[in-house]
């Protein structure tokens, strides 16, 4: 059992467990946390899961753990592990069931005072235009050919369908399209789950939120992003729906026998994997990219629908109601990247699960608008609390595999949250705090209560204190549409 004094304190915000802490570890584990957050993490299995991640064949550098860490399935949520393409593995469990679950932020010039009388109507309109909840379907059932096109093209498919602008694509991670997606690597089961879910929010902790830009910390970066104090913004948190879940389920099942075939021994069967250069590994990578592209298209369609909601409520009342793309990021993904590891440029698969890419200024792959400031990093708080906009830094490339936190991280189980919080009371409290809520059920609302999550301000303080991200803006919620 891991104890606090097993860690080496590197700084106020960095702690390490050495590679020889456990005999099967191949690399050290680095934790970005305060002492208090680290003590929190010791309360569940997240530290042990991070240690298990350090046993993956071909793991390079160090396993990174973000301050919003909590226990996941095999691999901690808030974990980052890079494996070498030359001799490493790819693990579906280290990417997550909801492949390319991520966040999109959109900005506007709508001022709070002019929009306030219409926020209740806006909450209803968003709920209407952006289908959410259990069993909801999109407006269109896709054919097999259309689904395969979405898999290969991602956001580009939505542009051809008239639901995206050029700027939307430019300001999406990977332009909303991972190359190397192959629909032949995806099961019929997954396609069946996918065909009528595109353009839907889903359920669980997914949401659409209208926020007020409350405070700016970096005016140059905020200006580049189109964020202004006192104006509205929109945040979408959603992923690949049943499609990604089925792909992960299929491959975690398949890889149970693959690991035996390749003689790979793992401390947790949810970490099952295949060599990156094996047919099985390449198949999963190709399927994962299909799910990633589906999720990019999904968030793009939801953004398009949100624009319709804004138009329905504000057109004719507010001169400039349009929502502009700030950025769209993934926080469950496996990405092919080059990192300097042990002094050598190394081609790796960076597994980020509940962690966000946070490339610094000048890094390849950033849109021109952000090349000077670094990649936007979007950190939603729990319901009713602040969300943050950060940027990646040069230091993040060197110190955290170009990665950062993704949110607030759970501290309480769903059943515990439901026992502690009454959904209807929470709804009233949020309303009293000036927040309009549309939610499918009070029980679902209670599960997402703020007290079920860590303090996002503390999480952000860690990543900015550690130098792997820089604060740009803090947002305050006004409207929440919960899946």
């Amino acid at each position: 059992m891991v104890k606090l004094n097993d860690f080496t304190r590197v700084s106020d915000y960095e702690w390490e467990l050495p590679a020889d802490f456990r005999s099967d570890m191949r690399v050290a584990v680095k934790f970005f946390a305060t002492r208090h957050l680290l003590e929190d993490a010791l309360g569940d299995l997240s530290i042990e899961q991070a240690i298990n991640a350090a046993t993956l064949p071909g793991v390079a550098g160090k396993v990174m753990v973000m301050p919003d860490v909590h226990q996941g399935y095999g691999f901690p949520i808030g974990g980052v592990a890079a494996t070498r393409f030359s001799d490493g593995v790819i693990s579906p469990g280290a990417i997550g069931y909801d492949i390319n679950c991520g966040v999109r932020l959109m900005s506007s010039r709508i001022r709070l005072e002019e929009s306030e009388p219409f926020l209740d109507k806006l909450s209803i309109a968003l709920d209407h235009y952006c289908p959410s909840g259990v069993g909801t379907k999109g407006t269109k059932k896709l054919s097999q050919k259309e689904l395969e096109d979405v898999c290969e093209q991602g956001s580009a498919w939505t542009r051809k369908a008239g639901a995206a602008t050029e700027m939307d694509l430019l300001r999406t991670e990977e332009m909303g399209q991972l190359k190397g997606a192959n629909p032949a690597a995806v099961s019929n089961r997954a396609f069946e789950r996918a065909k009528d879910q595109l353009g839907t929010l889903g359920s669980g902790n997914h949401f659409i939120e209208v926020d007020l830009v409350e405070q700016i910390f970096d005016s140059q970066a905020a200006q580049a992003m189109g964020l202004s104090v006192g104006c509205l913004s929109l945040m979408i948190h959603c992923g690949s729906r049943g499609f990604g879940h089925q792909i992960c389920t299929d491959y975690v099942q398949d890889f149970q026998s693959v690991v035996k075939r390749y003689g790979i021994h793992l401390p947790d069967r949810e970490l099952v994997c295949a060599p990156l250069d094996s047919p099985e590994g390449m198949r999963y990578l190709a399927a994962m990219r299909c799910a990633a592209n589906y999720a990019f298209a999904n968030r793009q369609l939801l953004a398009h629908q949100a624009r319709k909601a804004f138009e329905a409520v504000f057109a004719g009342k507010i001169k400039d109601w349009y929502l502009n793309q700030v950025y769209d990021i993934a926080h469950n993904m496996g990405k092919e990247e080059i990192h300097l590891i042990d002094g050598k440029e190394t081609r790796v698969c960076v597994h980020r699960k509940g962690a966000t890419r946070a490339f610094g200024p000048g890094e390849k792959g950033l849109p021109d608008a952000y090349s000077q400031i670094g990649q936007p990093v979007l950190v939603p708080g729990s319901m009713g609390t602040s969300s943050w906009v950060l940027t990646g830094t040069e230091a993040s490339m060197e110190r955290s595999l170009g990665s950062c936190c993704h949110g607030a991280g759970r501290v309480m189980s769903r059943s515990q949250a439901k026992r502690s919080v009454r959904g209807e009371e929470l709804r009233r409290e949020l309303r009293q705090a000036g927040i309009w809520v549309q939610a499918g059920s009070n029980a679902g609302l209670a599960e997402e209560a703020p007290q079920a999550y860590k303090d996002v301000d503390q999480v952000v303080q860690v990543v900015s204190g550690a130098g792997i991200a820089r604060k740009v803006a803090r947002l305050r919620p006004l409207v929440v549409v919960k899946g």
Partner: protein, 128 residues
């Protein structure tokens, strides 16, 4: 069972096939699935690869989730038997009227099937 990430259940049964039935019931019960039994229901048949008991349990429950998510039906009246190719499951699918909270995947995290002196016990963690 309390589980930070999502839902976990512990179930007990007299034999393995009964364990599968009870696991199905537990999964639907957690989601507070309401079904429409006014019509006879649709016969559903599938095969689950017979690997170890844990992998088979996940495969079985994943099949139920697939039907739930794709066709919005819940399966009951299970007849389960061992065949050469695997475990053959015959069931009846009933339309779902309502789901309170959706399970999205069955995980291998913390998965355990244990043969105790009087019964079989299993722990399954679900992703919501």
């Amino acid at each position: 069972m309390s589980h930070t990430a999502d839902w976990a259940v512990k179930i007990w049964a007299m034999d393995y096939f009964d364990l599968l039935r009870i696991a199905a019931e537990a999964m639907y019960s957690l989601q507070m699935v309401e079904i429409d039994r006014r019509e006879p229901g649709i016969p559903i048949e599938f095969l689950v690869q017979d690997e170890d008991e844990e992998i088979t349990l996940v495969g079985f429950l994943s099949e139920l989730l697939y039907h739930q998510d794709t066709h919005f039906i819940a399966l009951d009246n299970f007849i389960i038997e061992m065949q050469q190719a695997g475990i053959r499951v015959c069931a009846v699918g009933f339309p779902i009227i309502r789901i309170e909270k959706e399970i999205k995947a069955v995980t291998y995290s913390g998965l355990k099937v244990q043969h105790l002196p009087q019964e079989i016990e299993a722990i399954v963690v679900f992703d919501v």
